[in-house]
């Protein structure tokens, strides 16, 4: 049992209550006990953390992470991925099922949770596959997986293959109260593509992936969600058109949510040319244009976007230090997300600190139906502490993740995760892991 923890003097921002003021927080037995303007430690066993000049938020939850275990431990494993999460300010991650074997049975879900119990630095929430082997043919045993601890279902890495299997899955999941997360992509339009379809693909000679690949899939998904009334969440939205479709659907009352990634909020396809074909710019969906970046930022501000998730996709250097077409898709995102969001969105005034906490903590908790996302007394003692003034350079050799594949290498940023507290236990504080 964790001892008491007292976090003193931080600016507490909690979107569940709307609080934004200097408060002390006392965590007892792993749960938030009280918040008050001044709390003194009751006995010597209480750990006291000085959070003066810091911002204290409910623990961040990254609902889109590839931990790669089982099967691709050269890229990442549950221990390194959750160390990265702890360093990145995330108290929980939801891990995608495109492992080897795919997470498509209760045995794999249980295996991941057992492994996490022994090795993980933060909470791990497995996401089960929608279809057996993620092959898009037959429904996987989602009920059994839900019972074993899966929090959501997705065939991520690929879209749910057909409208019909998506229809069945959304209907079937109503019995199990879990969200379906789709990766929207029309594969017939994206096949062979490397980067966004447009001027940059023309100039670079790299094959393009049209925005319509995503938008057609989003339109399909929204229609099936309407047909079934099921709970749908759309992963890594990258285009203006897709966001417009989601905005319209929400205006009509459809029960749908969506996420965007930091890299789609910050980079454009021109980065591919600016970096002379750096394969760290290769990601799916691809980096789009300034028009899309602007639209996604608008979506953050107007509420169309519900969540910022990293789509943390770590890769071994061997899978990236090759010709562009041969490189794997993906960006290692857990350790850069918080700083990038602060530096590029919060400090310039695109979103508020309160909105950041909503996008990275409250909303993912609600969508996944997991504890956390709030600092209300009784909630788990999952807390993220931010140092808004810390200025540093993003350097891959400092990553805890095995995946050093970041297009942000060398960027100078202001704002950093300062503490990660899970169930009242600091796993990272002062920008160092706590053993």
């Amino acid at each position: 049992m964790a001892g008491d923890l007292l976090i003193k003097g931080g600016r507490v921002i909690d979107p569940s209550s709307g609080a934004d003021r200097i408060l002390d927080i006392l965590v007892v037995d792993g749960r938030i006990a009280s918040l008050s303007e001044s709390i003194e430690p009751e006995n010597g066993a209480t750990t006291v953390l000085d959070a003066a000049e810091k911002i204290v938020m409910p623990g961040f939850i990254d609902m889109h992470v590839h931990l790669r275990e089982p099967g691709f431990e050269d890229k990442e494993d549950i221990e390194t991925g959750t160390r990265a999460a702890a360093m990145g300010g995330f108290t929980a991650v939801a891990c995608m099922p495109n492992t080897e074997p795919a997470c498509d049975t209760d045995a794999v879900v249980a295996g991941i949770l057992e492994r996490a119990r022994k090795k993980a630095w933060v909470r791990v929430y497995p996401i089960g596959a929608v279809t057996k082997g993620r092959a898009g043919k037959e429904l996987a045993e989602m009920g059994e997986m839900r019972a074993a601890g899966a929090v959501a279902f997705s065939d991520d890495g690929s879209p749910v293959a057909t409208a019909e299997i998506l229809r069945c899955a959304l209907e079937y999941l109503k019995s199990f109260d879990a969200v379906l997360i789709d990766h929207p992509e029309d594969m017939s339009l994206s096949e062979g593509g490397q980067i966004n379809y447009g001027l940059t693909s023309t100039v670079s000679g790299l094959r393009g992936i049209p925005r319509e690949s995503e938008e057609i899939a989003v339109a399909r998904d929204l229609l099936i969600a309407k047909l079934t009334g099921g709970r749908l969440h759309l992963a890594h939205i990258s285009t203006k058109g897709a966001l417009d479709l989601i905005r319209q659907a929400k205006a009509k009352g459809l029960n749908v949510t969506c996420e965007v990634t930091p890299h789609h909020l910050i980079l454009t396809d021109e980065t591919v040319l600016e970096t002379a074909y750096d394969t760290n710019t290769k990601v799916n969906p691809p980096l789009r244009t300034q028009e899309d970046v602007d639209a996604l930022r608008e979506g953050l501000a107007d509420g169309t976007v519900d969540v910022i998730a990293t789509d943390h996709a770590p890769h071994h250097i061997d899978d990236k230090w090759v010709e562009y077409d041969y490189a794997d898709f993906g960006i290692s995102g857990l350790e850069t997300a918080v700083s990038l969001i602060i530096d590029k969105l919060v400090l310039p005034g695109v979103i508020s600190w309160m909105r950041m906490a909503e996008l990275m903590s409250l909303n993912p908790a609600r969508i996944l139906g997991v504890p956390g996302g709030t600092l209300e007394p009784g909630a788990p003692g999952d807390i993220t502490v931010i140092d808004p003034d810390c200025e540093y350079s993003i350097l891959p050799h400092n990553f805890e993740s095995k995946g050093k594949n970041s297009p942000f290498i060398g960027w100078r940023v202001t704002g950093a995760p300062y503490g990660t507290i899970v169930g009242g236990k600091p796993v990272m504080y002062g920008r160092r892991l706590v053993l």
């Binding site: 096949e191 062979g192 490397q194 379809y197 447009g198 001027l199 693909s201 023309t202 100039v203 670079s204 000679g205 790299l206 094959r207 393009g208 002379a276 074909y277 061997d318 230090w321 090759v322 010709e323 562009y324 077409d325 041969y326």
Partner: protein, 324 residues
């Protein structure tokens, strides 16, 4: 590795412009018009060597040029090899059929091993766009792009411009029509960048499925019908239909392509009377170009091949020459 354009030194009585010395040649998009002019004028003076009974000058004696080909090629590979040998450089060639690529060695490993054998310059052909940029990151020695995927083929465009100058004596104001598979063509991209920088009016045409998006942003006019692009042209540049890159259903058949987009007597009649016809080779006779046009007096396709050796000699000389 950069030189400055004004930085000339004298070697054995010849003045060498150092602006390309030690540099990579990866694309015409990144090349200045001044550097292009330099290559062309140097090629002009070196071309005479090809007409000599003894085709060898000692200029690059002791230099080693490595030629990496990860895609089949006849003329470009032979052209680079001969260019290097006429300048007395030694060459070592690797192609994907004979090197350890088949054993699964990465490009980075192959290249670094070769560079450890004392190679001074690497020339690469590769099927993936951007591969030469990648190689330039791996190696400290200069890299010359001999064609990367659908991106660029800068030495081809330089030899094309050299050939046009042979016949038209200028580039500025010329109307050049590039016809065919623009989408997959690195030759088209390099020519578009090179010709527009030197002041030509470039139009492109082909089936719309083979025109890349936003192509007009590169400063060219795009047409879905070849006749419109060819109208009044000084140069008709016919692209090879890259049958090996047609992954999808981009046109129904070679027959239909020939009927609507192939260059024949009728379509060429839209060009100026003295228009020349070019093609980067290898030709699909009877598909993108008819044999009577390919072998007509208006065709300069074989001149392009000779120009190619001269231009590549110039490039090797400007990058590798004048050291000590």
């Amino acid at each position: 590795m950069t030189g400055t354009a004004k930085d000339n030194i004298s070697e054995a009585g010849r003045v060498i412009d150092l602006s390309l010395r030690g540099n990579d040649l990866l694309s015409l998009q990144e090349m200045s018009p001044e550097d292009m002019e330099l290559v062309l004028s140097t090629a002009r003076s070196l071309k005479e060597i090809l007409a000599r009974p003894i085709k060898k000058v000692p200029t690059l004696r002791g230099k080693v040029v490595c030629i990496l080909f990860y895609e089949p090629s006849t003329r470009t590979k032979a052209s680079f090899e001969l260019a290097a040998r006429y300048m007395s450089a030694d060459t070592v060639s690797f192609s994907s059929a004979t090197s350890s690529v088949k054993k699964g060695e990465t490009l980075a490993d192959t290249a670094r091993n070769l560079s450890m054998m004392g190679v001074d310059l690497a020339i690469m052909r590769h099927s993936v766009s951007g591969s030469c940029h990648f190689l330039a990151k791996v190696l400290d020695i200069p890299v010359v792009n001999a064609g990367d995927g659908m991106n660029e083929h800068p030495t081809q465009a330089l030899l094309d411009i050299f050939t046009i100058l042979d016949y038209k004596s200028r580039i500025r104001g010329l109307k050049v029509a590039i016809i065919g598979d623009i989408l997959h063509s690195r030759v088209a991209r390099s020519n578009i960048f090179g010709l527009t920088k030197m002041g030509a009016e470039v139009s492109v045409a082909g089936p719309s499925t083979l025109l890349p998006p936003e192509i007009e942003s590169l400063g060219v006019k795009a047409y879905a019908r070849p006749e419109e692009a060819i109208e009044g042209a000084d140069v008709v540049y016919v692209l090879r239909l890259q049958l090996e890159r047609q992954a999808k259903s981009l046109f129904p058949s070679k027959r239909e392509y020939r009927d609507f987009f192939g260059i024949d007597r009728y379509r060429l009649s839209y060009a100026k009377e003295d228009a020349i016809v070019m093609h980067p080779g290898p030709m699909n006779r009877g598909v993108e170009i008819t044999t009577d046009i390919a072998d007509s007096p208006r065709s300069v396709i074989l001149d392009q091949v000779t120009s190619g050796v001269a231009v590549r000699m110039a490039i090797l000389y400007l990058i590798l020459g004048g050291w000590d």
